[in-house]
């Protein structure tokens, strides 16, 4: 008789305990607590729309880099090249718009074809921007794909190595292309993503309140990534690869394909970060994003993702970015030295990673 072929479901009701609440919402609570403290300590500056917009603008580059980094860390990997890839993409966008403009202006001066738009016209600026952005995006995606291939085709022992190589390659290429000098001035349409503000309403005193386009770009990509991770097969497979790579292989998932996509998307987000930075600074400069990969990793870890892979959320990463942004901003407002800011960020990284250790220990004990 096998009438009772059941396995015991030891009763594990989902109790609402302090630890379960902290586990789920702890990171969000930490952010709120931080904002409350900063509001109290700096009442006249912190909670102003200027300051919040400022934080949003400053954090947007790290937000995009952290988003790609998050995908990579979900697969238990790491991408050290995002800052350098961003600089390369940025320089190429600035250079392409300059070279494209120079070429077209001389062509237009010689041929003077009345059917074509004037080099100064908005139409030509739009086309020039689109071409330059496409080039920058393409380079970011391609660099990411090379990182993926280094892991999946060359079978290098850890993504640390191939992305460390890419860091140096992209950094060197950036200097070679630019000659080490910044390239200033980009077409206006290209600046829309990094420097624009969408005005929302006017205060009684005539002051406009707006929202930076950079923040909208970031929110758009975070939402897209959330849908991708939670509602697509590839998103599910990314979590599976990070959770148990052997199980993913047994289940017939093409693990190499998943990894190639993840590194390519990470390169893509670095290019989006470059686009935001190009707009904000109205230039491409070769020293952009030095050390930015470490900030991106820090934001992902503070956001609660596990370095062992398979664990973490898009919203957590977003909050991690905000916590880093608010700490830097808040300590600036409070006139605390930059050196202490770094110490504070360091302590928070270690604390966040320790929370993950505790969480894993609790799971194992269960």
């Amino acid at each position: 008789m096998s009438a009772t072929a059941t396995t015991s479901a030891e009763t594990r009701p989902q109790r609402v305990t302090v630890s379960s609440v902290l586990n789920r919402f702890g990171i969000g609570l930490a952010l709120i607590l931080l904002m409350v403290i900063l509001s109290i300590l700096s009442p006249q500056f912190f909670l102003t729309s200027e300051n919040l917009n400022n934080v949003a603008r400053q954090s947007s580059v790290n937000a995009m880099l952290a988003l790609g980094q998050f995908l990579v860390i979900l697969t238990a990997g790491i991408d050290l090249s995002v800052g350098a890839v961003m600089a390369l993409s940025m320089i190429l966008m600035a250079l392409a718009s300059h070279a494209g403009y120079a070429w077209y202006a001389s062509f237009y001066a010689q041929a003077a074809p009345s059917a074509l738009p004037d080099p100064q016209s908005t139409t030509f600026m739009l086309i020039l921007s689109a071409v330059a952005i496409a080039l920058g995006l393409g380079v970011g995606l391609f660099a990411g794909l090379l990182n993926g291939w280094g892991t999946t085709k060359l079978r290098l022992p850890h993504p640390f190595i191939v992305t460390l190589g890419m860091l140096n390659i992209a950094r060197g290429a950036t200097d070679l292309i630019s000659g080490g000098a910044p390239i200033t001035g980009v077409p206006t349409p290209m600046r829309a993503f990094g420097a624009g503000t969408i005005l929302l309403f006017q205060r009684p005193n005539g002051e406009w309140v707006g929202i930076p386009t950079a923040l909208l770009v970031v929110i758009f990509f975070y939402l897209a990534c959330w849908v991708f991770l939670s509602h697509s097969r590839m998103g599910r497979h990314i979590y599976a690869v990070g959770g148990n790579i052997q199980a993913a292989r047994y289940a017939g998932i093409n693990v190499d394909r998943v990894l190639n996509w993840v590194y390519m998307l990470c390169g893509g987000t670095a290019a989006i970060a470059a686009l935001i930075l190009v707009g904000r600074t109205n230039s491409g400069y070769p020293k952009a994003g030095v050390g930015a990969e470490l900030d991106a990793i820090a934001a992902v870890i503070i956001g609660g993702a596990s370095f062992f892979g398979g664990r973490g959320t898009v919203i957590g990463t977003f909050i991690g970015v905000l916590i880093m942004g608010f700490i830097r901003n808040g300590l600036n407002l409070l006139n605390v030295s930059v050196f202490w800011q770094e110490v504070a960020i360091g302590v928070i990284i270690i604390a966040a990673a320790f929370v993950d250790v505790l969480r894993r220990r609790a799971t194992r004990a269960a």
Binding site: S8, R236, G242, G243, A247, A248
Partner: protein, 262 residues
């Protein structure tokens, strides 16, 4: 024994060499649907190799495999799964960070078309519903398919792994030491589950070192020794001592001794 039925799997004269090592030296295997075959033998006897040949992980150097009387050639585990041969791995190939239904549907997620098939998104509700039905059909009792697998007990995880492999029109399920990592009280539940698979017309090959498990659920026991079949006996015609003797080779040498004396 009833009259001859068509076996679901038949392997004939399987030979597999790894360099100079002869892992399988002409092995025959027959498995009927609704039968549980126990596959036993010492370490290195060739049990796992034989099953890896059957699932397409290894390609045989000689011999033939028939699936429902048709000759088949598997070049990868994907091929064998396509026609209904599933393997439950010893190390529980589950992703602990995913839910029960996420694991059951891992690699074959159900999707729904949006925008006229332009976008395919996961059908979360559909997968949860089918997972619940599957677990009920196999009488696997897990309170919610939303639980992450890492929060389940070893026996429940094994049940999910078995359910996952048995769930999708599987005709043959191969289990490699499914009870090895379980607490004693959970073993019988997994054995019940294996018995239950027979009711669903699934042929089961059970590899285990635990002979009491083999005797609890198997209809027939096949003993491998040094790459050869040294016993293939209905359970009712044998007992544990004989199987142990076959596994260790004691029976062979005992017979040889008798012959020498005579």
């Amino acid at each position: 024994m009833p009259a001859e039925t068509t076996p679901v799997v038949q392997m004939r004269g399987i030979v597999k060499n790894f360099g100079p090592v002869q892992a399988l030296r002409g092995v025959d295997l027959r498995l009927d649907r609704d039968e549980v075959l126990g596959l036993v033998g010492d370490n290195g006897a060739g049990k796992s190799t034989l099953m890896k040949v059957l699932t397409g992980v290894h390609q045989p150097d000689g011999g033939q495999i028939f699936f429902e009387s048709q000759p088949v050639h598997f070049t990868s585990p994907h091929d064998s799964r396509e026609i209904g041969i599933e393997m439950v791995y010893q190390d529980l190939a589950l992703a602990g960070n995913l839910s029960v239904d996420g694991n059951i549907f891992l690699g074959r997620e159900m999707t729904r078309d949006y925008l006229g098939g332009l976008i395919k998104l996961l059908d979360h509700q559909g997968m949860a519903r089918e997972a619940v039905q599957l677990l009920e059909r196999l009488r696997i009792d897990i309170r919610s398919v939303n639980y992450r697998v890492e929060t389940l007990s070893g026996g429940q995880r094994q049940a999910v792994a078995i359910g996952r492999s048995a769930g999708f029109q599987a005709k043959v399920v191969i289990m490699d030491e499914p009870t090895a990592a379980l607490a004693v009280k959970e073993v019988s539940k997994v054995l019940d589950l294996i018995n239950g698979l027979k009711d669903h017309d699934v042929g089961v090959v059970l590899i285990s070192h635990r002979l009491q498990d083999i005797f609890a659920v198997c209809d027939r026991i096949m003993v491998l020794r040094q790459g050869r079949v040294v016993g293939n006996i209905p359970k009712s015609d044998t007992h544990m001592d004989e199987i142990v003797a076959l596994i260790t080779g004691a029976q062979e040498s005992a017979m040889r001794d008798l012959l020498e004396v005579a």
